[in-house]
Structures are given as C-alpha cells and as structure tokens.
Symmetry: C2
Subunit: 166 residues, 2 copies
C-alpha cells in the first residue's frame, strides 16, 4: 500500500435519489446530542429533521449540517408523526422495549421516519403506541444502553447500508 494517501473530506457518494429518511427527536436533554445527530444526518444525506421543544443547534458540533438539514421545530412529536404517516412514511422508533426487533435483522422501508429517544426517558409511551416498528441495537455490556446520539448514528449507518444510493 505504498501509494496510498489520505483523502480526508473527499467528495461524498452520489445519491441517485433524495434520501427519504427523516429523523424525529423529542425534546432532548442535551443540545450536544441533538447537534451531533444533525451532523451525522447531514453526512448521511438526510435533509429533514424534526426537533421538539427548544432546540439549540451548536454550529461547532453540527458543522455544515446546520445549513444542509432543514430543522422543523415542533411542540411535540405526535401530530407530525401522524401527518408523516399519511404521507406514507413508516414510523420507526429506536428503543429497548419488550417487543423491539433487533436492528441487525430489520429491513427499513426507504420512506422512513426514525424516532430517537430522550437520553433518560427514551420514547414516551404515547409515541411508542403509535409507531409502526420499534427497533433496538443489540447491547453486549454496561451501561446497557448507547448514548442517544450514538444510537441514532448506528441506525442511520444501517439505513444507509440498506439504501446506499438513496
């Protein structure tokens, strides 16, 4: 590998169609986590993110995501999730529950809303009941749960793996 050279920030993969993935966040405890999710989403080609409460995106963390991702601020998730379902999005929550499916074997629909959980409270019962699917990322050790931004990143990675061209 004598000829190899770093190509950091090299041009991204071209998507053949726009991403039909939307990220939806309840009011988060940490604007750091939310800002990290915005950066990851932008890198994944995601263009829409619903944020609830009083989100403050930190441009040092979100980087270009603050320009490229449209942040829709809502009071709560339920009404927008209902609307998106009418637009034929499948609503998928990222949560550990009695019924959640292992993300390793989950097949995303292209047209998906990924609902992230609050750092301490997870996804509220009210929202849980309205999801089409609940997926969990296998955990193999303490503290038995991933950071919210980390879990969202793993799920976005999995979605992009399944839809590498959009």
């Amino acid at each position: 590998m004598a000829e190899l050279s770093q190509e950091r920030h090299k041009p991204p993969r071209n998507l053949e169609r726009d991403r039909e993935l939307i990220i939806a966040c309840p009011p988060m405890r940490s604007n750091v986590n939310l800002s990290r999710i915005v950066r990851t989403a932008s890198c994944c080609g995601v263009r829409r993110l619903v944020a609830c409460g009083n989100p403050k995106i930190d441009p040092k963390i979100a980087r270009d995501g603050i320009e490229t991702v449209e942040i829709e601020v809502r009071r709560s998730l339920l009404p927008v999730l209902r609307q998106l379902r009418k637009e034929n999005f499948q609503i998928v929550g990222l949560e550990q529950t009695s019924e959640s499916v292992n993300m390793h074997s989950f097949r995303f629909e292209r047209r998906t809303v990924l609902v992230v959980g609050h750092e301490r409270l997870g996804i509220s019962d009210e929202v849980l009941q309205g999801l089409d699917h609940i997926v969990e990322i296998p955990v193999f050790g303490l503290p038995y749960s991933y950071n919210a931004g980390t879990a969202a990143a793993m799920a976005m990675y999995e979605y992009c793996r399944q839809f590498p061209t959009g």
Copy 2:
C-alpha cells in the same frame, strides 16, 4: 402493540465468546470523543482499548466503560500495533484514503484491532502504511466526514453485526 413496554437498560445479549476486537486511538484532540468511544466500546462488549498521549476519560461520558474497558495507555501506536499483529490481530484503520474499502462490503476478521483517526489529522502516514486494511464509511453530504466518535461507533456496530455472538 398494546402490551409493549419500555425496557431501558435491559440485560445485554450474551456473547458466546469474548470479543476479540480491540480499539486503538492515537492521541486524540478531544477527551470527550475518547470517552464516548469508551462507552460505546463497553456497550459492544469490547474489553481492551489502547489510548495514546495523555488520555483523560470522563466517567460521566464513558459511564461504566471506565470500569469494564481496560485502557492501555501508550506513547504511540506503532509499537503496540506491531505487537498485536504478531498476536494474529488484523489491523484495520478507519480513514478516507485513495485506497480505502467501503465498510458496507468489508468483512472483518474476528481478531481485529480497529484504529481510529485523530479528529483533525486522521491516521498518521506512518501508521497508515502499517495497516492491513483501510475502511471508510460512505459519506453522502457535508461536512464530508463523520465525527471521530461517531465513525468509531458505526464501525463497532458493523463489527458486532458481523459477529453478533462474539
């Protein structure tokens, strides 16, 4: 889905054998990123992490990882990577280069050292030349690179997906 209930921090998956994945970090710019990597590694069942320089793990971020992951502090990566190769570990770097392989199609060896890059500088040329493989995570938008902790998390997720039982 009327009966479902949250089971946050539910017991982890049992590994049938110890993880043979080791995370190796150069001196990092941010102890926050390093601490996040420690938490993610712990959740993934990883038990060894090599950290260079003067690492300070924040227990509020790394959580139980600070107890469960053995942090080996080294001055630099090259000697320990050479030693681990002698112990039949495959040395895999996470970097965008002219020769890097798409992680979507990369098959990890079970016995792997995952080398993470510095936030600004990536993996040094000296270390790059000594890797067995270089993998990159596809990027689809600005800022054209994932946060170092995010990229490490995606790679750990992919490894665990390939070795769900250890």
